[in-house]
């Protein structure tokens, strides 16, 4: 099958769709083949593990930034001359908090690195889908890249690279989530129309475009947030004000767009999509609350909210524990939103793909693709 043929399936052209349709039907109708080509369970296990490690890693990294502890360990890849793993436990644990989290971030990142290596190895060994192997390879590459970026940030003592590091971290998380999602049993088992239940429906161009736009704006929002967060000493007041205003405006946009996205994507009736859509609304709502709280704990009660009596006499506490947690939660939930939006986009594609395959099945009278019949 050539690239062009596959491309056409997304535009629902008969030939391409027929070709794909036949393809996805094949294993379902041949138990021997599907047995040999089982999804890689281990890849799923390790992807889920990666997801469960990278999100905390983002918390810890966010904590490093929130506490301005990025330069608590001046060297890299070592820690104060020690090999990363040989840095004395007692000095680490009993040392200053800044050193504790910075070194901890590095340790956790190395664990993630190892998990990513295992993921890739397992994928090569047992995963039948080439693009999934490629995805796990991408995860590994991004994890390594992110680690190096972290090191560069330390060696150059450079806040711009800290900002880029902060913008790439969430992408690593997103990729891990995608990998975990496409290796799920339900993803593997759902093969579209089986000839009995309702045929799967695509989501339509509008929904797909909307989902992609949402994803892009969610990332734009993250980049804007990173600029606000990593403000430089000589950043002008105008620039900062613009960034904050844009960040808040995009937040309002995302908050309004999330329910629309749910409405558009749920039309196809796919439960996964509906669930993801509801999750997205919840995360974005939470994020807006966290964003406002972040502003309050860092810059005090804003004037626009002065009509609310709550904040009068509010005292900003620099690097208080609760305050740091609020700010870092805002960072971490940003990644969740991005991942959630990416999953929706991917699920939309998959839904369209299933639907496209399904049409060809409906076209063939037996409900089974010609080749296997």
């Amino acid at each position: 099958m050539t690239q062009t043929e596959v491309e056409t399936t997304t535009t629902d052209e008969a030939t391409g769709a027929a070709a794909l349709g036949s393809a996805w039907q094949a294993p379902a109708s041949d138990s021997a083949a599907s047995g040999a080509l089982a999804r890689s369970k281990w890849l799923h296990v390790f992807s889920v593990l990666a997801v469960c490690l990278v999100w905390p890693l983002i918390w810890v990294g966010g904590m490093v930034t929130t506490m301005d502890a990025g330069m608590a360990v001046p060297d890299w890849p070592g820690t104060y001359g020690y090999n990363l793993f040989l840095y004395p436990l007692s000095t680490w644990v009993s040392g200053p908090f800044d050193l504790f989290i910075e070194h901890g971030h590095r340790l956790l990142a190395s664990v993630v690195g190892m998990v990513a290596i295992v993921m890739f190895a397992v994928a090569i060994k047992g995963e039948p889908r080439r693009w999934v192997i490629a995805l796990s390879g991408l995860v590994l590459a991004m994890v390594i890249g992110q680690g190096v970026l972290g090191g560069v940030r330390v060696l150059l003592s450079d806040r711009s690279s800290a900002m880029i590091h902060g913008c790439v971290g969430p992408i690593v998380f997103v990729l891990c989530c995608l990998c975990a999602s496409v290796t799920r049993r339900s993803w593997w088992d759902r093969k579209g129309f089986d000839g009995q239940s309702n045929p799967p429906q695509g989501v339509g161009k509008l929904a797909l475009g909307f989902a992609i736009a949402f994803l892009c704006f969610a990332y734009l929002q993250l980049v804007l947030g990173a600029q606000v967060r990593h403000v430089q000493p000589l950043t002008s007041t105008k620039m900062f004000t613009h960034l904050v205003v844009t960040h808040v405006a995009v937040a309002a946009g995302l908050l309004a767009a999330a329910p629309v996205l749910l409405t558009l994507t749920r039309r196809c009736g796919d439960l996964t999509l509906s669930r993801l859509g509801v999750g997205l609304i919840m995360f974005v709502t939470l994020q807006v609350l966290l964003g406002v709280s972040t502003w309050v704990v860092k810059y005090g009660w804003p004037e626009i909210l002065s009509s609310l009596p709550l904040g009068e006499g509010y005292l900003v506490k620099s690097k208080g524990f609760f305050e740091s947690m609020v700010v870092t939660a805002h960072v971490a939930v940003g990644s969740l939103i991005l991942a959630n939006a990416a999953l929706i986009v991917m699920q939309c594609y998959r839904q369209n793909w299933l639907a496209a395959g399904d049409q060809s099945v409906q076209r063939s009278p037996s409900g089974v693709a010609p080749e296997t019949a």
């Binding site: 599907s34 889908r129 806040r159 880029i164 950043t235 007041t237 810059y299 009068e312 620099s318």
Partner: protein
């Protein structure tokens, strides 16, 4: 075999299936462009360009040459953010020489990092710069979104202190402010910092303030007194030729002597601040015992009375609501005092382009159920009432030993204090 192959492809989205990743790639590239090249270390303190323009407006004379020369002198004497310097060589007396500790100074500006002993460097960059700005001008990146604006240290005017209205705060005052913050403003509490770190920051605030105040004086002096025009003046009066070595002794030029004298005066104001504490503030007659209701009632009367007329600004019963259009001294400097209406956006534009913040109304605090920004204990309130609040429209009441039509006695002020205490919320 054919089947198997189909199966693989069947589950294979092929790479085009993840082409939704492409927008992310595009955005990343875009982000990289946006972020590149904005992290050069700060090598120079930005000059006080707003003040140069203010001087220009006040004198109608060109200030460019003067500004350039003054910047050279200031950089010579005070160093750069990479290597700040306390010009102890030019000062006499231990108090003045030791007002700012050179070693501490080095730990304030520059990029921040910390070591295994938790000794922090770049403390000012880490904690303060986003609000107070590199040169302490109060116009850091985040400043425009705050009310009140962060303090511009360069004018030498401070609100929350134990000293008289026009005096500098003591080191203890600055330290207390940093530990407690200013509730109700964005000025944070830095109670997590070690004593050592606080000392560094206190010294650095003083350093920035002295540096900034000297810069302001010299700018004005160069144009108004020394006669800088389009060109720098001739040698003995040239600031640009003054270094730290030729500023004292026989070799000192006129310009050096002029600048050193101003430096000495400014530093002395800081050194002597403890000597100008607010008189009578340490003896609250009610301290220890509970405040009696009579005193509060008398205070209430005074609050609304002719002499103090606090209600004229703070509203009947301190609930606010009085419509007063007034601004603080920092923004009056480039507006009303130059004959510019603070709301005249067009006239202010040249100042804003140079980093001045848009003037904001200095509103009297709502005292009833409100919070004091600068501390709400009785002694502090006594100071506020007898001194007013520097830099703001809040006036001082006149004091006299006997009751009169224009002044209050200390006991009456304490009555007022007790009444204000009863109004304020305490946290």
């Amino acid at each position: 075999m054919r089947l198997v192959q189909h199966s693989i492809i069947g589950y294979d989205f092929t790479m085009n299936r993840i082409h939704f990743l492409r927008p992310i790639g595009g955005l990343m590239a875009w982000a990289a462009v946006l972020m590149s090249g904005c992290d050069a270390p700060v090598e120079q303190y930005p000059p006080n360009a707003v003040h140069a323009l203010v001087v220009h407006h006040r004198t109608d004379l060109p200030t460019e040459a003067a500004a350039q020369e003054v910047t050279q002198l200031i950089d010579q004497w005070f160093g750069t953010p990479l290597e700040p310097h306390w010009p102890a060589e030019l000062l006499s007396g231990q108090a003045a020489k030791g007002l700012v500790d050179q070693d501490r100074l080095l730990r304030a500006p520059g990029s921040f990092y910390s070591d295994q002993d938790n000794l922090h460097y770049g403390l000012y960059t880490e904690h303060c710069v986003r609000c107070h700005g590199v040169n302490g001008g109060g116009n850091g990146a985040a400043s425009a979104l705050q009310n009140p604006y962060p303090r511009d240290f360069r004018a030498g005017i401070f609100k929350w202190k134990s000293t008289q209205r026009s005096a500098r705060p003591t080191k203890d005052d600055l330290r207390r402010l940093m530990v407690h913050g200013a509730p109700g403003t964005s000025m944070p509490s830095f109670s997590r910092l070690s004593d050592d770190d606080l000392d560094v920051l206190v010294d650095y605030v003083i350093y920035l303030s002295v540096r900034g105040e000297l810069e302001r004086w010299l700018l004005y002096g160069a144009v108004e007194e020394i006669g800088y025009g389009d060109e720098p003046v001739e040698d003995p009066f040239r600031f640009g030729l003054v270094s730290i070595d030729n500023a004292t002794g026989d070799r000192a030029s006129e310009a050096a002597l002029y600048a050193a004298e101003h430096l000495k005066r400014i530093v002395d104001q800081w050194g002597q601040s403890a000597e100008v504490a607010v008189p009578g503030a340490s003896s609250d007659p009610a301290s220890g015992s509970s405040v009696d209701a009579d005193s509060v009632a008398r205070g209430k009367e005074l609050f609304h009375g002719q002499v103090a007329n606090c209600a004229g600004c703070h509203g009947v019963d301190g609930v606010g609501g009085v419509n007063i259009v007034d601004y603080d001294d920092w923004s009056k400097e480039y507006s009303t005092r130059l004959g510019i209406t603070p709301t005249d956006r067009q006239a202010l534009e040249p100042f804003e382009a140079l980093g001045a913040l848009r003037p904001r109304l200095a509103l009297p605090r709502e005292l009833a159920g409100g919070y004091a920004h600068g501390g709400a204990d009785a002694v502090t309130l006594y100071r506020r009432i007898t001194q007013g609040i520097a830099g703001t429209p809040m006036p001082a009441v006149m004091l006299s030993e006997t009751p009169s039509a224009t002044a209050l006695t200390p006991d009456q002020v304490w009555d007022l204090v007790h009444y204000v205490e009863s109004l304020l919320e305490t946290k």
